[in-house]
């Protein structure tokens, strides 16, 4: 057995109101992929943040190369050869892609930043992860998935001995995930030790060697990666889950949402489809296919050039979110931090944001009602929190995502558009959300769901629309939709035009 590169013993971390880590043991060998598994809020991100110098443990010891080591700052971690891909991106939106890739360590010549070297090095890194982004483009012009790839490339650039990846695949589609795994295998061969966090259980067997399961801040088991999924789920949640995609079809009614020839030049073109009452429509496609852009335009968040959106047969004005909401649309955006949450506000406020207007009497907000409604939803989604007054900023990633979904559940939208709704959500909570989708459609509402998690799209949709390069490439009924048929449509057009 090879010498352990990293050993963690009895790590504890307390935050006001919660014990995030309660005595965790963990170790890591060169050339292995060690998967960290646990429910939302189990303490995975907290653990890795103590390895990367972002947090300091209250108790416990970290050994690097067998020696007890204090990792106080991000610099310390870098010096020890530990690189981290954080769950919440640590990128600077205003800077160029290249600068983000070399944040804090730009190439220098004669003491000055060497931009030429920076761009060429950035090009190399981007090519390595297979992202066709201009190194000189501002980062904020990229979508969430390409930002994730930039974050990955940034960490690769550090040539670390230990690479920590916190849910890198949450927003990636199958092909990018494949690419990432390719890179991971390559790194393994070079002896790099990798910590990998994911909520996609099928990925564990594909890429992992060992699995450490965290529950309520404590490490409860260490098992090999080929442990059956059911067993992993039981270790993690404490019970087994019968059915991962419990879709119950309901009878379909009249079209609630109709989209006709929607076009925004250079982004998407001539998109037409409809969503009927009682129906779940999945919207699949590769990253950059234009799915998010289409639903944002439908919801009025962005303008479009031509075409029409009808809800319940009545056309919507362009670019007016409030009109779309009045008509009965709701949108759970893909970027929870940027578009979904007021991070500095508490859970109650965030959950009440959408419904607050209707619950206002004579200009006054019904605070008691808001608290009651918020408590109900938080309970329903199993949000792990110290109370409704907890600042959303301090919630774990998956729990933040539940808040974004929760505020729209309260709104009772006729057509709920979900953009990557289960990003970062654990298996148990996912099932809860699917149940909620079922009850929505059962009561005659409709759901339009974008997801890069293909099994989820296939498992939950009654109909799958596939987008490629800004166009609808095709439509598949639940019966015909398979991993292969969807991918064929998503990639097909790409190859035609290429």
């Amino acid at each position: 057995m090879t010498e352990e590169i990293l050993r963690v013993r009895g790590l504890r971390k307390r935050f006001p109101g919660v014990v995030a880590l309660d005595g965790v043991d963990f170790d890591l060998r060169p050339g292995e992929v060690h998967v960290l598994l646990g429910e939302n809020g189990a303490g995975k991100s907290t653990l890795i943040k103590m390895l990367s110098g972002a947090y300091h443990p209250d108790e416990g010891t970290i050994f690097v190369d067998g020696r007890e080591t204090a990792i106080r700052t991000a610099e310390d971690a870098q010096r020890l050869g530990i690189a981290t891909i954080y769950q919440e991106f640590n990128l600077v939106p205003q800077l160029t892609v290249a600068e983000n890739l070399m944040l804090g360590r730009p190439p220098r010549r004669f003491g000055f930043v060497d931009k030429k070297a920076m761009y060429s090095h950035a090009r190399e890194l981007l090519d390595r992860v297979g992202v066709d982004a201009d190194p000189r483009a501002p980062l904020e012009s990229l979508g969430i998935a390409r930002m994730q790839m930039v974050e990955i490339a940034k960490a690769l650039g550090l040539r670390a001995r230990v690479l920590i990846m916190d849910e890198p695949t949450a927003v990636l589609t199958t092909s990018e995930v494949e690419r990432l795994f390719e890179i991971v295998r390559q790194l393994k061969r070079q002896g790099v030790a990798i910590v990998f966090i994911t909520h996609h259980l099928e990925e564990i067997a594909q890429i992992g060697d060992r699995v450490t399961v965290l529950r309520d801040g404590a490490s409860v088991a260490e098992v090999p990666a080929d442990t059956p999924e059911d067993e992993l789920v039981r270790l993690m949640v404490g019970r087994s889950i019968e059915q991962q995609y419990p879709r119950e079809r309901s009878s379909q009614g009249a079209p609630l949402l109709e989209v006709r020839n929607l076009t925004r030049k250079g982004v998407f073109e001539d998109v037409s489809f409809e969503v009927r009452a009682g129906e779940v429509v999945g919207l699949a496609g590769l990253v950059g296919a234009g799915r998010t852009e289409v639903v944002r335009a439908i919801f009025g968040a962005d303008p479009y050039d031509s075409g029409e959106v009808l809800v319940d047969g009545r056309p919507l004005p362009r670019g007016k979110v409030t009109a779309a909401m009045e008509a009965g649309l709701g949108l759970v955006p893909e970027d929870r931090k940027g578009q979904g949450l007021v991070l500095g506000a508490n859970i109650r406020e965030n959950l009440g944001l959408v419904t607050m207007r209707h619950a206002t009497k004579a200009g006054f907000v019904d605070r008691a009602g808001q608290a009651k409604a918020a408590a109900r939803v938080a309970e329903q989604l199993g949000v792990r929190m110290s109370g409704l007054g907890q600042e959303v900023r301090t919630l774990s990633g998956g729990n933040q995502q539940k808040i974004v979904i929760g505020k729209w559940l309260l709104a009772d939208a006729k057509v709920l558009i979900l953009d990557e709704p289960t990003r970062g959500i654990d298996v148990g909570a996912k099932v809860e959300i699917y149940q909620l989708i079922n009850s929505l459609t059962a009561s005659g509402h409709a759901v339009l769901m974008i997801s890069s998690d293909l099994p989820e799209v296939l498992g939950m949709s009654d109909r799958v629309l596939v987008m490629a390069r800004g166009r609808l490439a095709g439509e598949l009924g639940a019966a015909e939709a398979t991993q292969d048929s969807v991918m064929a449509l998503a990639v097909g057009e790409l190859e035609e035009t290429a």
């Binding site: 919801f299 991070l343 006054f364």
Partner: protein, 319 residues
């Protein structure tokens, strides 16, 4: 748990939630020890009166800062409103309630222009309100021809003291403070302001009409500025075109000392009130202690820094 400790807990919660209340308490204790003239009823009333104008401006500014904006025009708008009041009431013989209403409308209109420049014109708040500062100040000078206009007695009673212990400016300040607290905590617009300041995009995608709410925000700041201007003028029994110059900085300082952040999403009426009181107590105290004029600025600077420092230190310890 006894009611005693409960009260104590509540007390320390109030302390911890309201910016530099601790700083204010320390300041008051220190001044009481240093000067026998400080802790007298008349002097405390004086402090109240002296805080009033800044506090009212700062209440208005609180709305703006919560939405992550800034309003540099409030001092100038206050002066303009006061000049308009005096001018309409004297030169044009308007009855004073009408003239007061007119002055308020002028303040609100200035605020709406700020809001429109920021929302429709997409100007940064700093620039839009800096421009308004110039325009309002200039218009005040033009209207008054640069000279102070005496206020009719009917209006200047606003600066008086009812009985011997109820100065009208203090009453107005408290009323405006309560309005601010209720508006921020309980009304739709108030909650929307926090959301906008916290994350404007998330607020927009949650169906909050950001443009409209920002217009409301700046209109409120303008309206509050007009009230402050009227109180100021009635204290002086004359409307001065150059009055309240630089008060915007005091107002912003009061809001920030009170725990708000210029990056938005945070801020409270009570905190702002504490901030305004710290500034007023400090100036009053320095006068009572006869600190030399040149050293006063140094001392004010040091004490403001210390007051806020105390707050951040306390917070760090509380962790």
């Amino acid at each position: 748990m006894t009611t005693g400790t409960l009260r104590l807990r509540k007390g320390s919660a109030v302390l911890s939630e309201n910016g530099s209340l601790l700083g204010l308490v320390v300041l008051v204790v220190a001044l009481t020890l240093l000067s026998g003239d400080f802790l007298t009823v008349t002097n405390l009333l004086n402090v109240g009166v002296q805080a009033a104008v800044t506090a009212i401006l700062a209440f208005g500014q609180t709305f703006v800062i919560i939405t992550s904006g800034i309003d540099l025009s409030v001092g100038a708008v206050a002066a303009l409103s006061a000049v308009v009041l005096a001018w309409t009431a004297t030169s044009h013989g308007m009855p004073w309630p009408l003239a007061t209403g007119f002055a308020l409308i002028v303040g609100i209109a200035c605020g709406l222009v700020n809001g429109a420049l920021i929302t429709y014109g997409k100007l940064p708040p700093f620039i839009a309100t800096l421009a308004m500062q110039g325009v309002a100040r200039g218009l005040g000078l033009v209207i008054s021809q640069g000279s102070p206009i005496a206020l009719p007695d009917s209006v200047s009673h606003l600066g008086d003291t009812i009985g011997s212990y109820l100065p009208v400016p203090v009453i107005v300040m408290i009323v405006m403070g309560v309005i601010t607290a209720v508006a921020l905590n309980r009304t739709y617009s108030g909650r929307a302001m926090y959301a906008i300041g916290g994350n404007e995009e998330a607020a927009r995608l949650s169906g909050i009409k950001v443009t409209r709410q920002k217009l409301v925000t700046y209109a409120l700041a303008g309206g509050f500025a007009a009230v402050a201007g009227i109180v100021l003028a009635s204290r002086l029994a004359s409307a001065q075109p150059q009055a309240a110059a630089g008060y915007e900085l005091d107002a912003i300082a009061a809001v920030v000392i009170g725990g708000a952040s210029l990056s938005g999403g945070k801020g409270k009426a009570l905190g702002t009130f504490v901030g305004a009181l710290i500034l007023a107590v400090l100036r009053n105290g320095l006068n009572l202690l006869s600190v030399s004029a040149f050293w006063q600025q140094v001392v004010i600077g040091v004490v403001i820094a210390l007051a806020v420092l105390l707050d951040t230190l306390r917070r760090r310890q509380a962790r």
